[in-house]
Structure formats: C-alpha cells, structure tokens
C-alpha cells in the first residue's frame, strides 16, 4: 500500500488549477474532462513528477461543502504543504495578492503560516526544523 494521491475539495476546478499552478507553482500532471464541468485534475510538485499527486476535487457534494465551509470559518487549514523558507514564501505570495490569516509563526521548531486558496480552503505552509 502506498500513498500516491491526496485530494482537496475546490469550489471551481479550473480556477483552482490556475491558482495552484500560476500562483503557488505546482504543475498539472493530469487534466481529463469527465463530464459537464467535471474534470480529473491532479497536480505535482515541480521536479517530483512521480511523487504524490494532489487531486483538485469538484466540491458539488453538499456534505463536503458544509465541511469545507465550517473548516474555513473556524480558521482550520484543509491541508499543508512543506516549503524550504516560510518567510520567503509568505513574501512572495503576499506580493501576488494572496491573503494570509496567520503570519509566519514558530511553533515547536516548525514555522508555519496560513493563507486562503481563494477556492474555499485555508492552506498551511510549514518549514520543518532545520
């Protein structure tokens, strides 16, 4: 058993794909139309094409919508991405217009920050202890 896919619900798959590739910097691995307004879209870390793929899930399920909205309103990130330098990413993303709900903060040796992905989720970035 291996972890090869992880998913995140998004309120608009194509808009999310633009944000996650053009702003965050991930690369599209698969983009397959599956029906009206529904796609199978997966992203990978640049240079890590055989690593875990992030699925941008269509969030049409009311149960998932309620869960996503509740997490967001409580300030809880839907997922987390590791970065080399949280401060640098925070600067870069803020300059790109990304809204942070938590500035880079050191907690137990890990530095983390939280921002909105504009598609219904809060995302945490973290820099592990060196």
């Amino acid at each position: 058993m291996r972890i090869t896919l992880n998913g995140i619900p998004v309120d608009d798959q194509k808009r999310a794909q633009r944000f996650y590739t053009e702003v965050l910097g991930f690369e599209t691995k698969h983009e397959i139309p599956l029906g009206p307004d529904v796609f199978w879209i997966t992203l990978v870390t640049p240079g890590w094409h055989d690593d875990v793929e992030l699925v941008l899930e269509p969030n049409d399920n009311p149960a998932s919508q309620a869960f996503q909205a509740a997490l967001f309103e409580q300030g809880i990130p839907m997922t987390a991405f590791e970065v080399d330098d949280v401060e640098a990413e925070h600067r870069r993303l803020e300059e790109a217009g990304v809204v942070f709900t938590k500035e880079p903060t050191e907690m137990g040796g890990t530095t983390l920050a939280v921002f909105s992905d504009t598609c219904g989720n809060l995302i945490q970035i973290f820099q592990p202890p060196s």
Partner: protein, 147 residues
C-alpha cells in the same frame, strides 16, 4: 494579513450572500465595518470572487444541483428567483458553459444518488480517469511506434 475580526466578518458576509434573500453589498460592507470598495476588494482577495460574482455563483451552484438531480429547468429557474427563463438560461450558460437543459441531460446520467449529489465524490471518478489516462498512454505509445 487579515485580522481575526475582519476574517470572521468576511466569512459571515459570504454565508449571507449564499442565502436566497441576500442583503445588498453596501449593507454587508456596513456590517463588516468597511467602505463598499474596501469590502469588495478584501472579499475578493479572500474568497476568490467579488461579492456580486459570489452571489451569482452560489445561485447557479444551487441550479446545478437541482438540474443534476433531474428537476425541470423551468421549475429551477423560478425556484431560484429568476424573472424569466431567458435570463436564467443566459446566466447559466455564461457561467457553466452549456445550456441548462443540456447540463441536466448530461449531468443527470452521472449522478449516482439522485437527490443528494450533483456529482460523485472525486475519488469515485478515479476509475473513469484511469481508463482515459491508459487510453491516452496507449495512443501516445502507438504514435511513437508508428513509422
């Protein structure tokens, strides 16, 4: 960075915009303690759409869900408060990319649990996606091997 109070206010505004009888943008800005212009800007940066656009999207998301479970186009149109079938159809087509009747036909066949889901959970789609990926790989390999 957004303050916690501002974040909460913008989340509350988003929830209210999804209600059928949403207040005006100016009223929501007032509730959030912001000028209308600043409210629109901060709302869009956090939620990815202006308040007006978000309200349209929320309304059409509801339309998509109702059509996907097989509701009649005319009933959906008036249930959502559109004054005419033409304005509903135009707004739907502009945002979704196909007319409501075509969307209803296509999506209704994809729905696995009528009345509860307008699309299966994404990982339920994995099999269909994998078949398409395999087919593409087969075609690509065939093209490379072709003289």
């Amino acid at each position: 960075m957004l303050t916690e109070a501002r974040f909460v206010a913008l989340c509350r505004a988003r929830a209210r915009l999804a209600e059928p009888s949403a207040p005006s943008v100016a009223a929501l800005a007032d509730e959030a303690g912001l000028s209308t212009g600043r409210f629109i800007k901060q709302f869009a940066a956090l939620h990815g759409a202006t308040p007006y656009r978000y309200r349209v999207r929320a309304r059409l998301a509801r339309a998509r869900a109702l059509l996907a479970r097989g509701d009649d186009v005319t009933e959906v149109c008036f249930a959502l408060g559109y004054s005419s079938l033409g304005s509903f159809s135009d707004a739907f087509t502009r945002h979704v990319g196909r007319r409501p009747s075509a969307f209803r036909r296509a999506r209704h066949t994809l729905v696995s649990v009528p009345g509860s889901l307008s699309a299966p959970g994404c990982f339920c789609l994995l099999g269909t996606a994998q078949a398409a990926i395999s087919e593409k790989q087969r075609r690509d390999t065939g093209a490379r091997l072709a003289p």
